[in-house]
């Protein structure tokens, strides 16, 4: 592997693989990337439409998963227990609550 100081090393650093870049996209959701990583990511995504799409779609997925997690606490329940199950649960609780 060529070191970072050599020309080849510099070129490799500027042209990461899609595998590397998608990992950077994943990390970007959770932490601040280093300056070097940011440059790699932005430079690559400006040329590779697939990684660019991966980045956009990952962000979209995140946004909707977060929204759904919030909704699940605040909305009127979309999923409901059957009346039979409720009755059974309450009778279990009454037994325990003596």
């Amino acid at each position: 592997m060529a070191g970072k100081k050599t020309l080849l090393g510099k070129i490799n650093n500027l042209f990461p693989t899609c595998k590397e870049v998608t990992l950077l996209v994943v990390k970007e959701h959770e932490m601040e990337l280093s300056r070097n990583e940011k440059i790699k990511l932005i430079f690559h995504a400006s040329m590779c439409k697939f990684c660019k799409m991966f980045r956009k779609q990952s962000a979209l997925l995140n946004e909707h998963i977060h929204k759904a997690a919030e909704r699940s606490e605040k909305e009127a329940p979309q999923f409901r227990l059957s009346e039979a199950r409720k009755a059974q649960m309450q009778s279990e609780l009454d037994k325990e609550n003596k």
Partner: protein, 209 residues
Amino acid sequence: MLTQGAAPPPDDSAKPRLNVSQWVAMYGDCLYNYAVYRVNDANEAQDLVQDTFLAGIKAKDSFRGDCSEKTWLITILKRKVIDHYRKKGVQGIQSSIDTEQVAAGYEQFFNEDGHLENNWTSQAKPHSWSYSGTQAMETREFYEVLNRCLSTLPGKWSSLFRMKNMEDLETDVICKELNISPSNYWIIMHRTRLQLRKCIEISWFDLKK
């Protein structure tokens, strides 16, 4: 479990009251809805709700009334859900073998050759997502598809993904709960997101074309 002092206070007229006989009627659906979003199995979700109520009865002396009954029960359920993820995440194969398999599976997504051109494999390349499909991601149907996609992944992966993205747990907490190293965390998250994106594209966006 919270243990209060040895003797309970003689006068509990000042204590906030829990209305256990109304719990299921008042909060059953809320808690169930919360659980279904997170475990994708009606029976397991029902068990979690039941366990939460029972744990609530056992811990009722610790209810101090500084939040509503509902919030208090959701807090208990939250912990139950995380325990559920942990159990699902640690059962099965040892993590070392797991990690090797995870690493090997990259071949289906990327070719090894070619730095200057993109190296996604033809089967894994992202396609653009339709406007109508993107709009419909707000719906419960989408959530059901997402859950189905997550359930095709190994338990450890889906647990890790849910703990991060639904429960908002810190990475080091997740590593501890699932007994994995930080570098394994990133490999698993990377593979999960690659696979999940593809599954959503096939099962949701093909449908919504």
